[in-house]
Symmetry: C2
Subunit: 324 residues, 2 copies
């Protein structure tokens, strides 16, 4: 995204959460810290472009985009807690709970969530005031994919992964791992791609294409992340070590092996591209997604290359041979 | 409330959160446990009666009432966590985090919150579809009092009470303790009393009276709770002991003394009654609140009696003499 747009969104990420002097100082400090450190802001960028593509008012794009970013950020604050992933670093700094205590991180996350629902409501009401069925569709979609039908379900499966992938379960590691990714990773991408469509009156087949693109992109992203973990080389030892192996975390590359994961990655990218081409044929204004896709996949392509190289030259780390 | 209405609301508390077989089993178990154990359900009862008083559709009353109960329940799940109040019992059973783990309790609470916002939207949209400014007022009010302007602020002050009531702070213990109660206790009572008014098109002076009644009732409730803590007699030792003293928690009776707390309690009840009488004069359909008030205050009156008795007979516990 261009620098100016990123700077604008970065400002909005901070200013869309007004903090008053009456806010309790610890809670305010935690929120100020979180709000001063946005992530990639790719969601608000996509939402902004899709709002233009679907002829929706841009002010409401920022509301929805920032809301999705707040939900995402809140989910990271919770995920990092000692009782979940117990991560001490995030976005190049100490995790919020390390710096402001667990209670501080939880209250900051809840404040982000409260603000996010308010912003979503403003956006949805502003886009579909005259169409109550479109409004209800959008709000049901949000409830479903943020709740036990999406994000929360994925996180709960993730936390109980050891139990789901062992014992009397009939589902394969692969199926469980992808189901977790469908909940944790695909849900917010779905909301990013599909909500502007719902609000903009996209036709049923357009919405279906947006859904499928979201699934392909979400799973692609997850496989790239899992491959990065597996192919990660420690600077000190020079040896490859997987954090997911040591923590017993779900990882598609561990579940089906590097070669198969790379193959699946290629397949998902190809299907996603085909769906996107069909969507662009129907609605040429969404062509910006193709440029974005190429940009985002530079990293994925590099990984495919590096992974193939490793498997072909048999320098695949020993610790992975059993699972690959 | 009559038994039949309580049973109906108790059913709604459970059935308004549809759980699918796809929900991850640990999360589902935690939610089933929480949903099978409602509290007093006083909020949905008041909302139901106020909807009738303001001529609003009853289906939307249950949505709003249950949503407020879900928010309340979620706040208890968070408050009970080890990093907050570290309470191991709630509603006569083990706390959710004791039974289902901290992560399980957090995810269940987030699921309740997600569902609650969805229900609030349905209720607000259903009541004020044709009046977008009334709709916006209701949603802003909800955001404010659930967020950093209300519930979350109160909880953060509560957790950092030791710091707020010590050191260079110029505010008295009393002011700080009441500000915490305004955030933690008054916020949800406000939403219960004022939202039906906003949605039902109450006049500005009626809304102001509802606001004031909410503040009086919320602070009354908090003082009763604090007095209960201070006057609590251990069955084994026969001696009075305050949990709030031992945990260093805010407590109005500890901040201003039992006698003053009882006096303040009486004053708040009197002011609340006066406001309520004025409201009933303007809108006779809310007279049901007077009966409810008498019913709820039976406990408060008993406490005033018992507290006066203790102070008059000088049997006030020694450990409280320094603070009383």
């Amino acid at each position: 995204m261009n620098h100016e747009h990123h700077q604008q969104l970065s400002n909005s990420f901070s200013t869309y959460f007004p903090l008053s002097p009456q806010t309790e100082p610890h809670l305010r400090a935690a929120l100020e810290s979180v709000l001063s450190n946005p992530g990639s802001l790719i969601r608000p960028q996509i939402v902004a472009n899709l709002f233009t593509a679907f002829d929706l008012p841009s002010a409401h794009a920022t509301e929805l985009g920032i809301a999705l970013e707040y939900f995402h950020t809140a989910s990271l604050l919770f995920d990092d807690l000692p009782c979940m992933d117990d991560a001490t670093e995030r976005r190049g700094a100490s995790s919020t709970h390390v710096e402001f205590g667990e209670a501080g991180a939880i209250l900051a996350a809840l404040a982000l969530i409260n603000r996010a629902y308010a912003l979503v409501w403003k956006s949805v009401a502003g886009c579909s005031a005259s169409d109550s069925s479109r409004q209800a569709d959008a709000l049901n979609y949000i409830e479903r994919y943020l709740g036990v039908g999406g994000l929360l379900n994925g996180q709960s499966m993730d936390l109980n992964y050891a139990e789901h992938n062992l014992g009397g379960e009939r589902r394969s590691d692969h199926a469980v791992t992808e189901e977790i990714a469908m909940g944790k990773t695909v849900s917010l991408i779905r909301l990013t791609l599909v909500l502007p469509g719902i609000l903009g009156g996209a036709l049923p087949n357009e919405l279906q294409l947006l859904e499928r693109i979201a699934v392909c992109w979400g799973l692609t992203y997850q496989i790239v992340d899992d491959l990065k973990d597996v192919l990660h080389t420690s600077e000190e030892s020079g040896k490859t070590h997987s954090r997911d192996i040591s923590l017993g975390r779900p990882n598609i590359a561990l579940a089906i092996g590097i070669t198969e994961a790379v193959r699946r990655l290629g397949r998902l990218i190809a299907i996603g591209d085909r769906m996107l081409q069909r969507l662009v044929d129907l609605r040429p204004t969404v062509a910006f997604l193709q440029e974005l896709r190429v940009q985002l996949d530079a990293e994925a392509n590099e990984l495919i290359h590096s992974a193939y190289h490793q498997t072909v030259t048999s320098s695949r780390p020993t610790s992975l041979q059993g699972v690959a």
